[in-house]
């Protein structure tokens, strides 16, 4: 079985986001990691490799700066990597790159996070599925395989659905699909020599353009009430905030 795992290279979740002149992310002092949802996808792929036997390829659309993140995915257990040498400027752009690679290979399963934690498009899995004519499911909380039959749990508002589809398919993953994996020493050593192929991007039309960024307005400072002033709080919610 061949599994492709698509990962993003994003600021660690504890990062305080800032921008340079409102035009681009201030990367100063920011630690970049595998996207938290992608991390779940990768962990599930490695689990499937361990239980059923599979070759796991990790793919990232990014410039050279993302290579440490890709190496980390190799250390966690992917067998080889592909880096498509371009800025991941928009979901349509990224989805076309992935579909292009998928068409040249024979993957049974393409896993990725339900969304990236930087641009939060939540689109790439569905787009890739559509481009390849494969089923796609997201957010996928459980994925079990029996031959080419996949049973999945999808989160919906207020509950979950149990779904079934035949491979090949695309899934956008989220917890608790697998336990996050931490690379061990042996993994880190072997990751250094695993193949990381750099390929050129294909050109794509229809991408949206990012003009500027801004931060949410700061909240004015918190108004405190004593435990026995709940009536005053309720009054403030009603008269001042006008939310009751």
């Amino acid at each position: 079985m061949n599994i492709l795992v698509c990962i993003t290279h994003v600021p660690d979740t504890t990062t305080k986001i800032k921008f340079v002149d409102g035009k681009e992310l201030d990367k100063n002092g920011v630690q970049f990691v595998i996207g938290p949802y992608d991390d779940y996808a990768l962990a599930r792929a490695v689990e499937l490799k361990e239980s059923l036997g599979a070759k796991v390829t990790v793919l990232n659309v990014g410039k050279q700066e993302t290579e440490p993140t890709i190496r980390k995915a190799l250390a966690i257990g992917a067998d080889e990597a592909i880096r498509i040498d371009a800025e991941p400027s928009d979901a349509i752009f990224v989805a076309h790159q992935i579909a292009h690679i998928a068409k040249q290979n024979s993957y049974d399963l393409i896993l990725m996070g339900r969304e990236s934690s930087d641009y939060n498009g939540g689109l790439v899995h569905g787009m890739v599925g559509e481009m390849l004519g494969w089923p796609s499911v997201s957010p996928c909380m459980k994925l079990d395989l029996e031959g080419t039959n996949a049973k999945m749990q999808k989160e919906i508002e207020g509950g979950k659905e149990l779904l079934e589809a035949t491979l090949p398919l695309v899934a956008g993953c989220q917890e608790p699909i697998a336990e996050w994996k931490i690379p061990n020493m042996r993994g880190i050593m072997s990751a250094r020599t695993k193949p990381l192929n750099v390929v050129e991007a294909i050109s794509v039309e229809g991408a949206i353009s990012y003009n500027s960024f801004d931060l949410p307005p700061e909240r004015s400072s918190c108004k405190f009430f004593e435990v026995d002033q709940v009536d005053d709080l309720v009054n403030a919610l009603k008269e001042e905030a006008k939310v009751l």
């Binding site: 979740t13 504890t14 305080k16 986001i17 949802y37 349509i92 989805a95 934690s117 930087d118 939060n120 498009g121 939540g122 689109l123 899995h125 569905g126 787009m127 599925g129 559509e130 089923p135 796609s136 499911v137 997201s138 999808k154 989160e155 919906i156 508002e157 207020g158 509950g159 979950k160 659905e161 149990l162 779904l163 589809a165 917890e175 608790p176 229809g206 991408a207 949206i208 353009s209 990012y210 003009n211 500027s212 960024f213 801004d214 931060l215 949410p216 909240r219 004015s220 918190c222 108004k223 405190f224 009430f225 435990v227 709940v230 009536d231 709080l233 919610l237 905030a241 939310v243 009751l244």
Partner: protein
């Protein structure tokens, strides 16, 4: 120009977020056409007309309900029929599955999680939430067909009455859908978290699942949905679909009450676009107070029942 809005229903009622999408469309274009799976009876026509929809495409086929693949195809046939160049969909778990498929099918560009009305029509320029609630980006969509998905509260509801006609749109059922639904587990009757206008959320400070009764009572009193922090769903005190934050649901209600939640940056990411935030925590140093509008330093077990009583006195 023509704008098409996808209408979603829950337990037989048109979702208020779909009506927000209609209002959003109406502010861009006079002519707003809607499309929905299910029956378009006089009840639906009345409510859609009230917000300015002039025509609704529908198909009551059971096979369409909840099938994102089928719905993407169905909406696309509406796009072609109407010659729509802009498609607007309120975010939901179903909508999030439909949108990427529809964008590819319709060869459209797409911006998701849009939080505000366009700042320009040409090129269409909108603000969308990025960095998981920590920032906003202003983006422009290229010429051609476009899809927008809207965050909750991107625009307020505003009536704009017109008369709404209906037109059944053909839909060819696929013999075997690519993804088969084996079963569904869904809480009925409760307020759906992403749709909720008010949310009462509790964290590890509650000590155990047996203490959620007072949280539910407060929520019921307010007509709010309940939510929780990640550790609470990890420990299975509460179901996973109640978990809000960076790795959970993102909410933007008008009122978010956080009880016994410390306010970790990953939690705040999912809730900080709430209009008003109230924090109840026994630790005056809890980071959440820095992101709150109102706070009470105190024991949740004492404060929450008092607060519920106080609210009962005014609403």
């Amino acid at each position: 120009m023509s704008v098409l809005v996808f209408i979603e229903t829950n337990e037989g009622e048109i979702k208020s977020s779909s009506l927000e999408a209609v209002c959003y469309a109406k502010s861009i274009n006079e002519n707003v056409v809607a499309i929905m799976a299910g029956e378009a009876s006089s009840k639906e026509l009345d409510i859609l007309g009230k917000y300015g929809v002039t025509k609704v495409f529908y198909n009551e086929s059971e096979a369409l309900a909840n099938d994102s693949q089928g719905l993407a195809e169905f909406i696309f046939s509406g796009v072609e029929k109407e010659g729509a160049d802009l498609i607007i969909i309120a975010r939901s778990s179903l909508a999030d599955s439909i949108a990427p498929k529809l964008a590819i099918k319709a060869k459209a560009s797409i911006a998701t999680n849009v939080v505000d009305l366009p700042s320009s029509q040409s090129p269409l320029t909108v603000k969308r939430g990025v960095f998981t609630g920590k920032a906003f980006a202003t983006v422009s969509l290229p010429e051609g067909r476009k899809v927008l998905t809207l965050a909750k509260n991107a625009v307020g509801l505003k009536e704009s009455p017109s008369s709404c006609s209906s037109e059944k749109l053909g839909f060819s059922e696929v013999a075997s859908p690519k993804v088969k639904r084996l079963s569904v587990e869904k809480a009925t009757g409760s307020i759906l978290l992403p749709e909720a206008d008010k949310v009462v959320s509790a964290g590890r400070g509650l000590k155990g699942p047996e203490n959620w009764e007072m949280i539910e009572e407060l929520a019921n009193t307010l007509g709010a949905a309940t939510a929780c922090s990640k550790p609470v769903s990890d420990m299975e005190w509460r179901p996973h679909h109640e978990h809000v934050g960076q790795t959970g649901i993102k909410v933007s209600p008008s009122l978010y009450i956080a009880i016994g939640i410390s306010g970790a940056i990953q939690h705040l990411a999912g809730v900080n676009s709430s209009k008003t935030i109230v924090v109840i925590n026994k630790d005056a140093e809890a980071p959440f107070f820095k992101s709150a509008d109102y706070g009470i330093v105190g024991d949740a077990f004492e404060v929450v029942p008092k607060l519920t009583e106080a609210i009962k006195r005014v609403v």
